[in-house]
Symmetry: C2
Subunit: 448 residues, 2 copies
């Protein structure tokens, strides 16, 4: 048997959990999504469990009044904390676990992003990561002076240039630039400061950054590329890729595609870890696990459930929710409804069952079963070369995360798939990805 | 004798201290400006001393290669942490002290600022403040795609609208909006959510914010208005004003001007606290205090000192630094040099003495003496109605702050001028400024 490479595990902490009805769970604290103490408890639990990282997804706004009337006030999405402030707070009460915050290249400026993530990396002693997104909703556009979201082409062109600028700013200082010579009055060696002076299509940014080189050399770059343009950005930059995959073949095909693209971009494929999202319902018996799943599904309010179909299928509220999914009559909707309709017809789903598949995990892969059954699935994906780790998106926080730690983690460790202790102190060390070179050839190893 | 209103005290933590040579001080840790532990120690000391707030000034860039060659590498300004990330980290390791971060209205978007400060207010349990600035340097402009800094008029017009948008977003939710009714599936009462839908000259912002109403109702607004436009923004908004004043008459005249403007804007003048900046050198004897001052002044490198005169007087490096300050021959410089030249002639200062007056405190009022002498000055300003408190800008951190706590604070307390204990938990409670009304008339008192 070959020596196993331990997998990476991340905990995604969005809302009170990934299930749409999480806040109605009997054990849930509905206001926890904006309660710092809730996140401190999660972060410290995840660190005690030796997870690689915490992750915060993000949108910059609420899709207010877009959905059919009555749906918005049934969700917990109005109650969040802003990722960079939250993770900076958590940096102060944890010591080892990585801290990955999402920020949009469409609605930010590269100098701010370079500076804030370098600062978080410094505050945390080398544990910061940036999840690069381009955003997707009109709600975000309208919070930033635009009527519509940017089109895909220019949005990804902006993103690619944005990331180049941020990396350039992170190279502003060689790691040994700061000599701090009190006798001569020399604070830094000017030959080791680099002024980027970027002049591009989307940005003009002078630099240098006003923060010394970050403890990790650079914060870790994370991405979730699905389109060709997205995979292009991942190939050039990402050290972690969050993927969405529901079956082993699809996962393996995506894994191979990304790893090949990374190699084609001249990077070592092992320096890019692919981590599909999973939402787990775990119990000592399969029956109990399924009961946990059904209990939450029964709590999805009808208006909220229908809102998940609204964008693709229009308003279905006039139909029997336990009857078959109707073919849309509105020609504007008919073409985009195809995917959901095919799923409903294949599995013979009612309207209620169809929206529940979305409400239960928002696109992550759902695993329901005993610890052994769940870990069998994870191991199969790793063995098949379809995943380097997983981004855990528990349906309810903290209870479903506690279930994973109590039941799945010991089984993973028994099989040699996950660490017993941290061996390093930075997120790069946990992931096993190297410190990138500076574009200026200077030292990248931090001073002590 | 009337009952005294205790004064407010803030600690400004920029760099390793406000003196240009602070990092060369024998006790200074030159790298401390980007060392989180340095700031944790300061924050916890200031909280133990019952200070109202910590304050972080900010610029978004380094004035690289603007000064005469050789000056930049003699300053510690290349080594900072970003204010919002730093204060979010400090929020997690403190319990009472206020946290005021600077952010520019010229190089930010109101939705981000509203969201990040609401998040910091939530994380800290009601201790956040926003110091509103419009920035001033070309270096910042060039980090954000512009060649020049915006002109004063449009810059302040943008700032005024920016603040209105941020306040509007902070009113997105009434304090009692979140009913969290698990039985009915109602997370919030939609009548208590407010969509701003701002359409202005500089911004179009839809809202609502995706964070519940902040524990303070709104984060505290801080400003440092000097121009008429700046005082206008302070009058309409500021709950704290950081002022720059060197003599009692000037301080009193500014104080009266701001308080009158606040009243004219329809607000209670006692809801706007005016806090001049002070840089203190304190020792048991006046001679020792003066020695502390002279010791640091002797450490100002010549190129760095000359750089402080460069913008207004041109390059004086060809002159005898211990000789008189020459009248500039360059006609472009002659008119802007007037102020410094008049100061030099009035006090018969050499070039070295002139740049030292700037290097020693960057425009704050410098107080040198015994605890009694320093507190006499502070008391005189408070008694004369020239200050409601002070923003302490120690020349070296932490040592000069420790001096203030050990020597000046007991004297202030002996005179009944400063609190022995916190009586509240939020920054508003420390300052004694009320929670503002919501523009929609809804509840502003936070839920427990």
């Amino acid at each position: 048997m070959p020596t196993r490479q331990p997998i990476s595990l991340g905990l995604s902490m969005r809302y009170i959990g990934y299930h749409a009805a999480s806040w109605r769970h009997p054990q849930a604290q509905p206001g926890a999504g904006s309660d710092f103490r809730h996140f401190v408890r999660l972060a410290q639990s995840a660190e005690a469990a030796k997870f690689d990282m915490l992750f915060l997804a993000d949108g910059i706004g609420i899709r207010a009044k877009d959905a059919p009337p009555g749906a918005l006030q049934q969700t917990a999405q109005s109650t969040v904390l802003e990722p960079l402030t939250l993770l900076s707070g958590l940096a102060a009460v944890t010591e080892r676990i990585g801290l990955v915050a999402t920020a949009s290249t469409t609605y930010n400026e590269p100098f701010h992003i370079a500076r804030k993530y370098a600062s978080l990396d410094s505050i945390s002693g080398g544990r910061a990561g940036w999840n690069i997104v381009t955003s997707w909703s009109e709600a975000e556009a309208r919070n930033f002076g635009r009527d519509k979201h940017m089109d895909h082409g220019p949005r990804y062109a902006r993103a690619a240039e944005f990331v180049e600028v941020v990396k350039g700013l992170w190279d502003s200082w060689d790691a040994d630039a700061f000599v701090h010579d009190k006798a001569s009055g020399t604070f830094f060696d000017p030959a080791k400061m680099h002024v980027l002076d970027h002049q591009g299509e989307h940005f003009r940014v002078r630099g240098p950054l006003d923060i010394p080189r970050s403890p990790q050399g650079r914060p870790v770059l994370v991405q979730a590329g699905a389109s060709d343009a997205g995979i292009g950005i991942a190939a050039a930059n990402a050290e972690v890729v969050y993927s969405v995959a529901h079956d082993l073949n699809g996962a393996k095909s995506y894994y191979d595609k990304v790893k090949n693209a990374v190699a084609t971009a001249g990077r070592n494929p092992s320096g890019c870890k692919i981590m599909p999202g999973i939402t787990t319902f775990i119990a000592p018996t399969e029956t109990e696990a399924r009961e946990k799943y059904e209990q939450l599904n029964a709590l999805v309010p009808e208006a909220l459930g229908l809102s998940y179909l609204y964008g693709q299928m229009g308003d279905l509220s006039g139909h029997d929710l336990d009857g078959p999914v109707p073919e849309p009559t509105d020609p504007a909707v008919r073409s985009i409804a195809k995917g959901l309709l095919a799923l409903a017809q294949r599995d013979n789903l009612s309207i209620r069952q169809l929206y529940t598949t979305i409400a239960a995990g928002f696109g992550t892969r759902i695993l329901i079963g005993t610890p052994r059954q769940v870990v069998d699935e994870l191991e199969a994906w790793v063995e098949a070369g379809a995943a380097d780790g997983f981004n855990l998106c528990p349906p309810v926080l903290p209870s479903a995360f506690d279930d994973f730690v109590a039941m799945a983690l010991p089984e993973l460790r028994r099989r040699g798939l996950f660490r017993e202790e941290y061996s390093g102190t930075t997120l790069r060390e946990h992931l096993g990805v190297t410190v990138p070179n500076s574009r200026y050839g200077g030292a990248v190893v931090p001073r002590e």
